[in-house]
């Protein structure tokens, strides 16, 4: 089953049919079984929830420089993964999936993303976790996001695609250090891990969360 087959959409379909089509698309792709993709989501959501990095206090708190758990965890993840992934790809156990350098899109998109991340206090990965734990304000944010996705889809060809500009290719850091690729990957990984460790640990807690826990479980009461 090497070829990808997409189910053609009929005009009059219910939302259930369309969700079923989505699952069917995953079945016909060679990117893991539906169960595995679902499980990846469960673990992803579980890690984010269990580390509490989906909290407004963590993400908006970082924008106010009152909490640094987000950058510490992100940089550690990137550092460890970059070393592991580089050698996995070298051994043929994984492939590159590099996003193109579309300069205008990256800069304009990055600015909009940074502004909204500070205000919403979530990103598209942590937002669903917050909704799952009962945050109504984030649900409203998600409705805004769905409308954003709709507007982007409707005006993609006419407005957004020209705004993004042309791709300048898909380079990665080792491309600039020909002959020293392994060393570049190792040094990059180690530097990023060191950054994660040396960022001073600051935490902003949510009293409403802490009050639900017993005295000994509260992380700020040592």
């Amino acid at each position: 089953m090497a070829d990808i087959i997409f189910v053609t959409d009929e005009v009059n379909t219910t939302i259930t049919d369309r969700v079923f089509t989505m699952v069917e698309n995953v079945i016909h792709m060679e990117h893991g079984s539906v169960a595995l993709v679902f499980l990846i989501g469960v673990i992803f959501g579980g890690i984010i929830q269990y580390t509490r990095v989906d909290k407004f206090e963590k993400i908006a708190g970082f924008s106010m420089l009152k909490d640094t758990i987000i950058p510490k965890m992100l940089f550690l993840t990137v550092g460890l993964t970059s070393i592991g992934l580089y050698f996995m790809i070298d051994a043929g156990q994984a492939h590159y999936h590099v996003k193109p350098i579309i300069l205008q899109g990256l800069i304009i998109g990055g600015i909009l993303f940074g502004i909204s991340m500070a205000i919403l206090g979530k990103c598209p990965g942590t937002g669903p976790v917050s909704i799952a734990e009962g945050r109504i304000d984030v649900l409203i944010g998600a409705i805004g996001g769905l409308l954003g996705g709709l507007v982007f889809t409707l005006y993609y060809d006419d407005f957004f695609k020209p705004l993004m500009g042309e791709s300048l290719g898909k380079s990665i850091l080792p491309d600039f250090f020909q002959g020293h690729e392994d060393m570049t990957a190792l040094i990059f990984g180690v530097i990023v891990i060191i950054i994660a460790i040396v960022i001073p640990k600051l935490e902003l807690f949510d009293e409403a969360d802490l009050s639900q826990l017993s005295e000994t479980q509260q992380p700020d009461k040592k």
Partner: protein
């Protein structure tokens, strides 16, 4: 059981999950979490993929992330109810009250607005915190480093300008 994991444990576990997802024994692709948004929007509003080139373009990533999203909602719910005990309905975060205002309407309007521009921004850049920052920087992609730098700078500038942090201890 501890009610939360430390950042370093979170980083190690997330790295393990990323490597599993990237590997040919896993999904042979990166983790992303913003392509599903326009895809789910196309499901809800029943947009015809033949009319809108963008849906055709994101169909496979959007479907993959859509199924992952169902898992994320399930995993987040189970963990919040049974492990962190943080499940509760709320309209306004504690730190918003402390550093912004006490108005529910203000919080909801800002949430809606920021959710809207967040997805436009992520789709313009071609990724978000997961796809660019985590998956992209782990591949040492130049595009993701540019995105990461712009986001980090804008995030901190917005935080300084938007919230009232003066007079705080």
């Amino acid at each position: 059981m501890a009610n939360r994991l430390p950042w370093w444990m979170g980083g190690i576990l997330m790295s393990g999950l990323l490597l599993l997802t990237f590997s040919i024994y896993g999904a042979d692709r990166p983790i992303g979490a913003s392509t599903y948004v326009p895809y789910v929007a196309s499901l809800i509003f029943n947009l015809d993929p033949e009319k809108y080139s963008y849906i055709e373009h994101i169909k496979s990533s959007g479907s993959w992330e859509g199924v992952m999203l169902l898992g994320v909602l399930f995993g987040g719910f189970i963990t919040s109810v049974f492990i962190t005990k943080s499940f509760r309905f709320s309209l306004i975060p504690s730190a918003w009250k402390r550093y912004k205002n006490n108005s529910v309407i203000s919080r909801l309007l800002w949430s809606f607005f920021s959710g809207f521009i967040m997805i436009i921004g992520a789709r313009l850049a071609g990724g978000c915190t997961s796809g660019h920052f985590m998956s992209g920087m782990s591949q040492m992609a130049i595009s993701s480093m540019i995105f990461g730098t712009v986001v980090l700078l804008t995030l901190v500038i917005t935080g300084k300008l938007f919230y009232n942090t003066k007079g705080d201890k």
